[in-house]
Symmetry: C2
Subunit: 393 residues, 2 copies
């Protein structure tokens, strides 16, 4: 056990477990099957790229959590989780991507052996809990009823601890450096992949104090008309004069993220883009003012949209989401959204990616901030980076 290098104290893990158990009690759950890798890590410390095979953490009201997964990954669990080795259970490799048997039959047997029954919560819509996993688990556990516990753990993660903020602030330093590198290097004739190599370099090197971890989303950096779409990655064509590129990237430290997006235009940006920049900068400012403890999450979106409307920009949908610890494919926590209908009351310690993207017919503009809700006053930005459209001539 001595070799396990946990990112948090055991007390912090115990506190998290207590909060999840309180929530389970409230919902009358005798057991919770956690399959979202970010929830697994937050509850136990587990860290490894093994979520491409079925795995879970089992939470019951009394016992320590049980890590369950592929046999060879149980070895990784032994090196990363705080629980005793007897709380780590591996299934045979023959079950991996087998067409005749499913790992969740094995999980059902394990739960039966542990006498788990009654009301079982499962993360029906979290990542990596497939329809087949649900089928095999439910049909092999007769003494149980199943209830949707999607997001149960995620919601408990909303307010960050001091140590979590240490990692997020370190990630913020890193993403600032990544953007500086972009601004230094981007120019006509440079292949896009060559710039991405530098972005990765700055992100993974990190700082002297904190080496960088992999962000849960790869760099998104569409150019010109491609920037009308938010989630394109890159290719090996060169940057050219006369187009804007937005760079949606994140620093990451011990799985904690600080995303930040800026747009760079090579040449002279068209007037409409400069107008949009003004609208976004003002809108972000108003949004930050509204992002106060006691306000609703939706108020942030309304404050932003009001400014945009004044500039004649129609915008709807989400313009922000909770962030923190994450594994691919998303760096969001999938709980609170900045959209007018979200009534969640903001609390100190909550962290968000406030990200108003404008994806127009043949161009796009993104200026975003990673923010922290504080006890008094407007939200604090985790990064300190000029909030503007950068122009390189």
């Amino acid at each position: 056990m001595s070799e396990v290098r946990l990112p948090f104290t055991r007390d912090e893990y115990a506190g998290r477990l207590n909060r999840v158990r309180a929530q389970m009690a409230k919902r009358g759950l005798d057991c919770l099957i956690v399959t979202d890798p970010s929830n697994m890590a937050w509850l136990t410390g587990y860290d490894g790229w093994s979520f491409y095979t079925h795995q879970a953490v089992v939470i019951t009201p009394q016992e320590d959590p049980i890590w369950w997964g592929r046999g060879i990954d149980a070895r990784g669990a032994r090196r990363t989780v705080y629980m005793d080795h007897e709380n780590i259970a591996g299934y045979p490799d023959d079950l991996v991507q087998s067409v005749t048997e499913h790992p969740h039959q094995h999980l059902a047997d394990l739960l039966t052996a542990k006498r788990v029954k009654g009301s079982i919560g499962v993360e029906l819509d979290n990542y990596y809990y497939s329809a087949a996993a649900h089928h095999h688990l439910t049909t092999n556990l007769n003494d149980a009823s199943f209830h949707d516990a999607t997001g149960l753990v995620n919601w408990e993660r909303a307010v960050k601890s001091e140590q979590e903020l240490v990692y997020m602030r370190a990630a913020a330093r890193i993403v600032e450096n990544m953007h500086l590198k972009i601004l230094e290097l981007v120019e006509p004739g440079l292949r896009k992949n060559d710039l991405v190599a530098e972005i990765y370099g700055a992100g993974i090197r990190g700082t002297e104090e904190h080496g960088g971890d992999y962000p849960s989303i790869v760099p998104l950096l569409p150019t010109g008309p491609d920037a009308s779409a938010p989630h394109l990655t890159w290719d090996d064509r060169t940057f050219e004069k006369g187009a804007g590129t937005f760079f949606e990237i994140a620093g990451c430290v011990r799985r904690y993220h600080a995303p930040l997006c800026r747009t760079v235009f090579l040449g002279d940006p068209p007037r409409e883009m400069l107008e949009a920049e003004k609208a976004l900068v003002e809108g972000l400012g108003e949004g930050l003012e509204a992002a106060r403890a006691g306000n609703r999450a939706g108020d942030v979106a309304i404050a932003l949209f009001k400014v945009l409307a004044r500039y004649g920009v129609e915008k709807e949908g989400r313009c922000g989401y909770a962030i923190g610890l994450s594994y691919p494919p998303d760096w969001g926590e999938r709980t609170i959204s900045f959209r007018p209908t979200d009534n969640t009351i903001l609390e100190p310690g909550m962290t968000f990616h406030f990200m108003p993207g404008l994806w127009m017919e043949d161009w796009g503009l993104e200026l975003t901030e990673s923010i922290l809700i504080v006890a008094d006053g407007p939200a604090e930005t985790l990064t300190n980076y000029p909030r503007q459209l950068f122009v390189k001539n």
Copy 2:
């Protein structure tokens, strides 16, 4: 449409669609809902980091495929798929991570409007088809019966085309360069994350002809006792003398992968590791001999295990899997496995990651090859890189 830069000819996409339709007809399916991002890309060209929200490609016997996903990602589809824009359908952003409505209600409505009914195949155990997605789709489509089509498309991908092999060979050149960079730089005192930055640099820079894409798994490079577990990533501690590290990485070009793993020992490796190296090298050689068209996939595993047993190394489980186009979280195709029970007959054009890992009590050794089954003779390795344990003193 002219701006869409497809990685394959339209004829190639048409051929893929025909093969999938033939398979659907064989199984009596009137419709196939494809949610695995790699299957979506292989069938339509779609490329974007949007698989963190629900999306799918709908295949019917007559019409062109329909891309369905989040509204803002429909813009990405317009820029990457070969179909007409009328075959691209977006759902409102309010459905994203909503607690009151689910995107698959929208998909059910779309299918109803298109008069899709009868037998519908869904990828029950592919990635990103959640238990909730299945629930909402099935309960909102009354005129349909649902059938498990997990892997249906994946199996059609097993034999690679010439153009697919062009990308995989390019990826193989890249992964060779990544390993050369490792060997050049790894030394006691170097922070692990700083080496990872260089690995990413070499991988994404790629070659003059082909810029690198992001591999579907991040570099795995556990050291010393951590190498007893296969899927740990990295931290910011330094390399030290007296321990081995395996580097499981891949080159990637237009989403096609060439994984390659080598182990580097700093200092003098213990005798047991040198013995294991001998066993693995000989075992890989025997495995390649067995990896011939007409043989079973299981024969490759048996040939390897036989050699290992002769050296007193007990090994079971999988020692290889089909590879090609992929998106996170896995670079495998999740069809054919090199394990004794797999009776799939090997065919020319099939590609695999042949990867016998030895994860011992307090160390690990991996030497692997990406291979191509050819018409005559043993498998061809895609990379040309010394098959050995590297020792740096």
